[in-house]
């Protein structure tokens, strides 16, 4: 492009600085958010994957069972197999540290074996801790802490660390380090036999890492080794284990990426509206250029370049901001953006050229897409006609497309019925997009219809505004579509989050019926209460009933993550937040209640048989009902504690729920429990505390969502103000005529405000409706398919109304302010332009 043309087209961007800046900023925001989400999650995933790689070491296969482990006799059986070159048994525990508000991952390993399979876990005896026989690694009372664990816990070789073993406290000597654990990984290693004895896991291991002999086909070996294993124990490749874990957070990551994509689309839309209006305003100028010999293609190219330049600048800014946001997020909320998927992972910020390049291209694409329609329109114009004044008016003519609108909405409905693709609700997201497109298409029809209804109003300004909107509904599309889209998205998110929070709140009430909760294994750690302790708690004065809870994880197959097993007294299911149909279970069969995730992932329904691997044996249950579980996305199964104990002979419990007797004092009972168990081993909480903590976690999880939502609304408002600013400039001739006809400047300002108000009312009303529809899709399709939980619709009516009024007021204000600019020119000048 020649320098002259560059001046013609690109200088136009400089002339409408505000509009250009806002479009650029919207694209930058979209790129920044998308890129930040991408950077943060890929860094967290990388780090998470590296951690899993490191711990898997050189293992070709891993034998994995429930969290509480499986029979350690399997180790000898598998390690002796012909396919196996080396085997390393592991007992992995998450051990609570009394007096500290954290737990420590401890790996019980065989120091004689571990170096052959996963050298990362090899303990290194500190020189000063070496005993004369150098058997330190086998000693039962020593622990080897990784450099990160030593730093975080403030311990060093020679020092001691208190750990919770069952409901007791044991003191272990730090005898050295785990140098292979790498940076930032807090873990500890001790002898496997010592760990079994100390933590009450005699006869149990949680994992066997296997290295196969060279030349052995891994998949064939996997099948052969899996054949004789106890129920619930699977043989997986480390890659499969990693994929399953990473898959857990995938839906969440896609969700956030979608939110960022919406910001980007909105940015593209802003480019559209400013380009559209700019082209309309420059129609004569462009026609003149054509008349001077500029060919159609060069014109179109020039206009597209305008959009692309905005997209490029926005993209570059977005890349810088995105990295800044990611850096901030690592500091403030951590690598999982507060959602708890990557606990204990501390990723570092790195420049990601691939993602940056991709998002830069997306930014340019958004700019190009926004400029496409106006450019095409300009390309098609007839120079002779466009040179005349008023030709731009035809651009605002808008053909109503009821069929396309209906088609979009109908297709959206159909898409909602389709299943997810690879656990991602692809069709749900498509439906959301179609609803938004449909709503935007409906907008001009709605405005026109509404304008006709307002015919009764008598004042001149009303008449003028009505006539304008009825005659040029395209204007409403340009100005109001941004309002529709952003209001719809904000409303949808608000309804979804409100419904979710409300459902979680009620769910917490249902799952926390007792007065006092005593936990030996808070946050899934390995502490437990022995049966005698349970009896002593039950016998305390003031206790009317206790409900011990036993947690474990069960692998129902080798394709999914293990589900959580919850064994506690359930009183025939009445203690669970049941949803949907239930089934009668014959008295000679054992009932199980599955969470909604289990229904989705494992395709079981009430009344069907469900085989649970308990203590290595398959035990048949009958699904009695489905319950709602917001805590375990990978699924949970609840069974009666008595059935669990009968099947496993395991009498310990991780938590106890305590019901107060009539007239008993909560504080006295809490003090009695504390005396019984000791200050530091058990955590005592009221339902209120647990609930507050849970809701705080909930809010933290949605923090990023809230931020994105605010950004969407902000960009929508940008849209309104840029559109009206450009409109006002484009219409300055019209306003000049009106001035000549006797309207005051103030009246014209009111006219613009009124038009803006009407457009905003229509857009907001439509946004509310569309938003509710989108919320329904989010709740019933996207959430259900992503996270496998249902929720009850909860409309935050007052908040939505207030929000709608604010948006309308802001839109009217934006219209008024931007219109003011147009009226600085004298009426005479404005009109003279026509002649």
């Amino acid at each position: 492009m020649s320098a002259v043309l560059r001046r013609i087209f690109l200088a136009s961007l400089a002339r409408r600085r505000l509009a250009t800046a806002l479009s650029l900023f919207a694209i930058a925001l979209g790129v920044a958010l998308g890129l930040a989400v991408q950077i943060i999650h890929s860094a967290a995933l990388d780090e998470f994957g590296r951690g899993m790689h490191l711990l898997a070491g050189e293992a070709d296969l891993q034998v994995i069972g429930p969290r509480e482990g499986f029979d350690d006799a399997e180790y000898g059986r598998l390690a002796i197999r012909d396919e196996v070159a080396d085997a390393s048994p592991v007992l992995e525990l998450d051990v609570r540290l009394p007096g500290r508000d954290r737990s420590l991952r401890i790996f019980g390993i065989d120091a004689l074996r571990v170096a052959h399979v996963n050298p990362a876990l090899m303990p290194l005896v500190a020189e000063a801790q070496r005993d004369e026989r150098d058997l330190t690694v086998l000693r039962p009372d020593v622990l080897f802490a990784s450099p990160a664990a030593q730093a975080e816990l403030g311990v060093a070789p020679g020092g001691r660390l208190d750990v919770q073993a069952g409901a007791q406290v044991a003191s272990l000597r730090i005898a050295g380090s785990v140098p292979g654990a790498g940076q930032g990984r807090a873990l500890a290693v001790m002898d496997i036999a010592a760990a079994q004895a100390l933590f009450g896991r005699l006869g149990r291991i949680t994992r066997i890492d296997l290295r196969l002999k060279s030349g052995i086909d891994i998949e064939a070996a996997r099948r052969a080794l899996a054949a004789g294993l106890p129920a619930g124990v699977e043989v997986l490749t480390p890659q499969a284990t990693e994929d399953q874990s990473a898959g857990l957070s995938r839906a969440y990551r896609v969700n956030l990426t979608m939110l960022a994509a919406i910001a980007l689309v909105t940015g593209g839309f802003l480019v559209f509206s400013t380009q559209f209006l700019s082209v309309a305003r420059r129609r004569q100028e462009l026609a003149f250029l054509r008349a001077l010999g500029l060919d159609r293609r060069a014109l179109m190219r020039g206009l597209l370049v305008e959009g692309a330049v905005v997209g490029l600048a926005g993209g570059l800014l977005g890349i810088a901001v995105g990295h800044g946001v990611a850096a901030l997020a690592f500091d403030v909320v951590g690598g999982d953006l507060g959602a708890g998927y990557f606990r204990g992972v501390a990723p570092a910020l790195r420049f990601d050229p691939q993602a940056s390049g991709a998002y830069l291209l997306l930014g340019v694409a958004a700019g190009l897409a926004g400029a496409w329609l106006p450019a095409r329109d300009a390309q098609r114009m007839l120079p002779a006609r466009a040179l005349k004044s008023g030709d731009e008016a035809h651009m605002f003519r808008f053909r109503a497309r009821p069929r396309i609108a209906a088609g979009c909405l109908g297709l959206a409905f159909v898409l909602c019925l389709l299943p997810p693709v690879g656990s991602i609700p692809v069709f749900g997201y498509l439906a959301v997009a179609l609803i938004l497109v449909g709503a935007v298409l409906v907008l001009p029809m709605l405005v026109r219809a509404a304008a006709h209804r307002w015919a009764g109003s008598r004042t001149v300004l009303w008449q003028l505004a009505r006539a304008r909107l009825a005659a040029a509904p395209g204007q409403a599309v340009v100005a109001g579509a941004g309002v529709v889209a952003s209001v719809a998205l904000a409303v949808a998110m608000a309804i979804m989050v409100a419904s979710f929070r409300d459902s979680v709140d009620r769910w917490l009430t249902a799952v926390l019926p007792a007065d006092l909760y005593v936990s030996a294994a808070s946050q899934g750690t390995s502490g437990f209460f022995a049966p005698e302790t349970l009896q002593r708690i039950a016998a305390l004065p003031g206790v009317s009933r206790t409900m011990p809870v036993r947690f474990d994880t069960l692998r129902l197959d080798d394709r999914h993550l293990p589900v959580t097993l919850i064994a506690r007294p359930l009183d025939g299911g009445s203690r669970l937040p049941l949803v949907g149909a239930t089934a009668q279970v014959p008295t000679d069969e054992k009932p199980a209640w599955v969470s909604e995730a289990v229904v989705d992932l494992f395709a079981v329904r009430p009344g069907e048989r469900l085989v649970l691997p308990l203590a290595g044996k398959p035990v048949a249950f009958r699904v009695a009902g489905v319950w709602r579980d917001y805590a375990r996305q990978q699924g949970a199964v609840a069974i009666e504690l008595d059935d669990y104990r009968a099947a496993t002979g395991d009498l310990v419990a991780n938590d106890v729920a305590v019901f107060l007797a009539e007239g008993a004092s909560f504080n006295e009972l809490a003090a009695a429990v504390r005396r019984l168990l000791g200050e530091s081993t058990a955590r005592i909480a009221t339902p209120g505390e647990i609930r507050a903590l849970s809701l705080a976690i909930f809010d933290r999880t949605f923090l990023v969502t809230y931020v994105m939502e605010a950004v969407a609304v902000l960009i929508g408002l940008f849209g309104v103000s840029t559109s009206f600013a450009a409109l006002a400039i484009a219409r300055r001739k019209e306003f000049g005529v009106l001035r000549h006809l006797g309207l005051t400047r103030r009246e014209i300002g009111r006219l613009i405000t009124l038009e803006g108000l009407l457009t905003a009312v229509a857009g907001t009303a439509l946004g509310l409706v569309a938003g509710t529809a989108v919320a329904l899709v989010l709740i019933e399709v996207v959430n259900r398919q992503s996270f496998h939980w249902s929720m009850d619709l909860h409309l935050p009516g007052v908040a939505l109304l207030a929000f709608a009024l604010i948006v309308i007021a802001l839109a009217a204000f934006a219209a008024r302010v931007s219109g003011y600019q147009a009226m600085r020119d004298s009426a005479v000048l404005a009109v003279r332009e026509d002649w």
Binding site: D72, Y75, G76, A79, E132, A197
Partner: protein, 360 residues
Amino acid sequence: MALRWAWHALLFGLYVALAVPAATAEVGYPPVLPGKVLHFPDDGGAHPQFRTEWWYVTGWLTDGQGVERGFQVTFFRVRPGIAEDNPSRFAPRQLVLAHAALADPSVGRLRHAERSERALDPLAGASTGRTQVWARDWRLEWSGDHYRSRVEADDFAFDLRFDPAAAPVLNGEGGFSQKAGDPKHASYYYSRPQLAVAGSLRVDGATVPVTGRAWLDHEWSSELMPQGARGWDWIGINLDDGGSLMAFRMRDEQGGAMWAAGTLRTAQGETRALRADQVAFTPLRRWRSPRTGAEYAVEWAIDIDGRRLQLRPLMDDQELDSRRSTGAVYWEGAVRLFEAGREIGRGYLEMTGYAERLRM
């Protein structure tokens, strides 16, 4: 030979110290006392109450092309005195360590491999009642009339059968083998010399049938090492006339002999215990290791009860350097025994404590 156990244990990073005074031991190890009568095959099996025990096979192999190689395979059983009351299957109450090496003159140095396991059925263990000790797929076993040993390593493997020609040779006083001036430093120790070897050897990917002659030592003790010793020299030689010779000396810091003893069995089956004053080791030719800088006497003059014998190695470099894994450096290799310039037997020589003082 009794003294090897300690540096072998060191080799595996587990120096299960004999030097530790009994008073500090957490568990009561039975003492080694003179006068005990050894019974076979029972005493060929493990004695798990004692602190350490090993079965040690060395010998010469000849393949179809007439290539001669030395081999060695050792199984250790160690009772570390840890976790004795832990009922866990993994409790390290007994450890099994194994070590194998192949001396191949065409390679010019040793190929070697090792295994270390806690005793855990069926992966590793040492049975009582008869010789049966294994660490995963490595094993040594007595089956009524012969031993069999299998070893699989990356660059070599063997599966050998050992047929004894005669009853076990009891070292020292009927199997009570004293290691220092104080009789509490002693072991129960018998040897099976003149084992006829037949089996297969894999080396460089080719498996070939081999025959040869080997020597088995079995020794168990609780408190064996005298203090102040820097290392030791030991030989076990199958004599061509059907007899056998075992001799060792323990060296102090200055390289002088602190204690020496031996057993000479004649072709006629007569066994004679050699006292300290009847055994003398004199270095003749030294070789310096390019890897460790340690200097070993690879040729010796050995005086046995007035006879002067000469020892020459299959190859000079039979040093085993495992500093990277466990830190031990020693020389252990196939040797020929000469008398008046004539070869009279073949066996193994072991020299420890030359690279550095053994940490005891």
